[in-house]
């Protein structure tokens, strides 16, 4: 079985600063693999353990952050056999319908039985790429997959946890699934897998290598602005002596009235 696991590089949230005008400054935020996609990669690795003759290709589309060797090694150290990245200056700030369109072209080029995405990414959290990708490819696709029950050639059975019910679904392969964050705990790469990652093959494609007719801009991003926060009292008592706790309890008691 040929598995593709998709991932996006996102800025490390801890290092995003907010400018006085509310705009975000991500210049100091290092790119990292979207945490939800780590679950997608891990799902691929676990599936590989269940299936004979299975390979995993990690895949991403985007701008120059994808040229970063450390980020490439990071994804490969988590288990995929090889990596395909589609890099183009035009791909710097893609919206989900565009990402899905490019991934479609790349996936058609490499071939696949199963594509695994995360349910969303921690930056825009649009939660559309896997679903739109599957729909564009004309294959079975679903989101919120919380467990893989079985995989055999041509067929996948998954569990899906929704707001108030759980579904067990049968998907005919090829298919695209998006997994929820609670599907697994991604393993932390060991020194050995990190070293091995450096030797794994990487294919770099550009927009010109893919069959990409015009991608219409169905949606455009107008602004990304930090909301104004409510002003708070900010009374912080330092220390947990009896008296200090009593003071804190008094504030709480007043608020409870």
């Amino acid at each position: 079985m040929k598995i593709i696991t998709c991932y996006k590089l996102v800025p490390e949230e801890q290092d995003i600063a907010i400018n006085a005008d509310g705009n975000l400054d991500i210049s100091k935020a290092a790119p990292k693999i979207n945490p939800f996609d780590l679950c997608a990669v891990e799902t691929g690795v676990q599936l590989k353990g269940l299936i004979d003759d299975c390979s995993i290709t990690a895949m991403s589309v985007g701008g120059k952050a994808l040229t970063n060797p450390k980020a490439r090694k990071d994804v490969l150290s988590r288990g995929p056999d090889d990596l395909t990245v589609v890099i183009d200056d035009k791909f710097e700030q893609l919206l989900p319908h565009q990402t899905a369109r490019i991934l479609m072209a790349a996936a058609q080029k490499t071939g696949f039985d199963l594509i695994i995405c995360g349910d969303g990414s921690s930056d825009l959290y649009a939660q559309q790429v896997g679903l739109q990708l599957g729909e564009l490819l004309g294959v079975a696709n679903i989101n919120a997959v919380s467990k893989i029950i079985s995989a055999e050639p041509g067929k996948l059975i998954v569990e899906r946890a929704l707001d108030n019910e759980v579904e067990v679904l049968e998907l005919v392969l090829p298919a695209v699934i998006s997994v929820s964050a609670d599907i697994n705990e991604p393993t932390i790469p060991s020194m050995k897998t990190i070293l091995a990652a450096a030797k794994k093959p990487v294919t770099v494609l550009s927009a010109a290598d893919l069959d990409l007719s015009d991608i219409t801009e169905l949606v455009e991003l107008v602004s990304v602005i930090a909301p104004k926060q409510k002003t708070r009292q900010n009374i912080v008592i330092e220390g947990d002596d009896e008296q200090q706790i009593a003071q804190f309890a008094e504030h709480l008691r007043k608020a409870l009235k």
């Binding site: 989900p96 930056d123 949606v219 107008v222 504030h251």
Partner: protein, 314 residues
Amino acid sequence: MSKLSNIWVFSDIASRLPEIIAAGVALGEKVSAFVIGTEADINRAYSFGATHVYCLGDKDSQKITEDYSNTIAKVISSSTDTNTLMLLAANKRCKALASKLGVQLQAGVVNDVTEINIDNGICAKHMAYGGLAIAEEKINSPIAIMTLSSGVFEAQVADTNNTGEAVNVAFVEPKTPIKCIERRAKQGESVDLGKAKRVIGVGSGIGSKDNLQIASELSEIIGAELGCSRPIAETEKWMDRERYIGVSGVMLKPEIYLALGISGQIQHMVGALGSQTIFAVNKDKNAPIFQYVDYGIVGDINKVMPALINALKA
């Protein structure tokens, strides 16, 4: 504000429909609801203010709702209304439906919408960067599709004088149907933390299940619901997922929020910032939570919790 000619609405969860129809009424001259269900469900949609109802048939245990996307897309694309908007509930199922419809109708999609503006084209806002920011997107396609967060519009009040006939729509088989082998109600209690007046949030700092018991005792004394941060629900699995607060969990609006052993990362805080007054206990004086509090104490919960119980019992 001029209105759009028609708003399409759908919710797989009945309780969300009145709010979504309300949005339709506010934004459109007509509100066309898709209903999967019985005569009662059709009447219900009319009573909440739908002007047209399209019935997709009875609920079918073997089908998943997402497989109705082709059927819905066919109705929308054969309609003469242009520049329309389709609104769905912001849950996993409707998000799947929205994306599928987006591709089938070549329509722009925005999820978890918290604000809609139609004055200058169709624009929508939603949370981004784990709650650090609000993104605004403009939809350029003739059909716009959005999943609407709860609480954005005030639910319509039912008026049983509003009635009508539904148009029955034949099912369009999707190219690659997904078979539902089993469907079961989710285990666990149902709580609505989003409606609670007082909430205590427990974080990793709680340390042990025994301490959770003490936090629960405290919550009983002050009449609060118990919630938690993500690690408590997802890593430790000490509490139900329905109880975790934040961008990927529940959004709170209580009068009082008391955070115990929670560091205060933005992804958590977004869910708590709607609280009127925020209290926090954390032993690290540099914990980010203290930037967001009205009242905080730098202290060990092992000491503070029992003392609070004593003080507030009295």
